[in-house]
């Protein structure tokens, strides 16, 4: 169990490390848009939209590993002072909520992403790209969040990390 929990964490760490570079792609796309509109007086139809399609996957993939890092905003008045079993219980509450959150998002986003794929849904703009690849990151990230929450539960119960 612990080994699985560790591999889940490793996977999410890897995805976080890859996803973080996407912010530079967003920067370059936005700069290109400013440049082409202001200097060349012809805004692109695609740069801001492509940046937006990257933005969702970027922040979604950061969520699961952030859970491991304890980086989600929380009120720590109690948990900071808690020790022993009480601290474990508090930590478990947080992870269970995160797992529920991930599971429900997963359950409801899978059909929507699949539907978007089967419709060949596009953004209906001047550039008009297909948008299911971006939508597909919601079920993926929700699944990873749920896995990470379960992994944290395992680690917390084994007393590996609280």
């Amino acid at each position: 169990m612990t080994a699985i929990a560790r591999s889940v964490t490793a996977l999410n760490r890897l995805l976080f490390a890859l996803a973080k570079w996407l912010v530079y792609a967003i920067v370059l796309l936005m700069l290109w848009e400013v440049l082409s509109r202001y200097m060349l007086a012809s805004p692109t139809s695609w740069a801001p939209e492509l940046a937006m399609l990257i933005f969702g996957p970027f922040f979604l993939l950061g969520g699961p590993y952030l859970l491991h890092l304890g980086g989600h905003v929380a009120v720590d008045i109690l948990s900071e002072k808690a020790t022993g079993r009480f601290a474990t219980v508090l930590a478990l509450i947080g992870y269970v909520l995160a797992a529920v959150f991930g599971a429900i998002l997963l359950w409801f986003s899978v059909p929507l992403a699949m539907q978007s794929y089967s419709y060949g849904e596009t953004s209906y703009s001047a550039w008009n790209p297909v948008i299911w690849p971006a939508k597909a990151f919601l079920p993926l990230a929700s699944f990873l969040l749920m896995l990470q929450a379960l992994a944290e539960i395992v680690l917390a119960l084994r007393g590996e990390k609280v």
């Binding site: 139809s45 801001p48 419709y119 209906y124 703009s125 001047a126 008009n128 948008i131």
Partner: protein, 315 residues
Amino acid sequence: QGVTKWRMQALWGGGTTPQLYEEKFCERVKQLTGGSLEITPFAGGQIVPAAQAFDAVRGGAFEMMKTFDGYTAGKIPAHGFSSTVPFGFPEADQYEAWFYERDGLAMAKESYEAAGLTYVAPTVYGEEPIHSKVEIRKIADMNGLKGRFVGLASAVMADFGVSVSPLPTSEVYSALDKGLVDFADRGDIKANYEEGLQEVAKFLILPGVHQPSTATAYVANTAAYGRLDDQQKAALEVAAREVSGALRQNIIVDNGEYLRKYEEAGVEIIDLDADDVAEARARAVESWKKAAGEDDLAKRMMESQMSLMQELRLL
């Protein structure tokens, strides 16, 4: 018999004129059914963003929505033609006639059928204006300008030589003010006045060729719709058709009043030449064909509209 309670996700913000008409719609349905069908309207974005209402009704979160088909044209290409067509019907009445006197309504119903949704009826009204910082006297003047348009209009305007930026609605005012774009569409004449566009754009161009006439739509979840009795179904249709006429007339009167306010604020109102617009319409057909692509229903809708336009000597 018991009372059926429905929830409806609408398009517009709370307190706006179109949203007041959604409240009237619900009132009227209640009255016509003797209180057996009660619909609670939610203002645009209150529960789900307007553009996502399609999936919310499909998924059963709402029994009904007031939607703008343009939001789902990326899924269902025909919706580009059942919402608003750039350089399309110049009069709202002509567009509504296409729905009720030709096969528009039948095809709109067809477009929703496979998704498990039932198209009830459209609400059809007139143009949205174009606000410009530079003088635009003819369509050709738009060539080379920077403009803010969204949806099919952004593709069509691009075909007319406009450099299109699809900025968010909330940024239109400052984009015009700062010259980020030369001209822009936003909302209707009254709403744009209330946003203050007369302060930042000295020209108001009519007709708003990018959106000469508009159809929004009442669409129900088919399973929920199937549980209604005949009186309730008829009430939805009657109330919808009443609201369509009433809102359109309200907008006509408001437009007159607000155009005067624009003039008082020093805005010049430019009326494009009808022949110029008609000529541009003929050119826009190419853009329409691109939008319809290989989709059978979209092509049929477009052809049906074009044939009515030819009879009305618009094409």
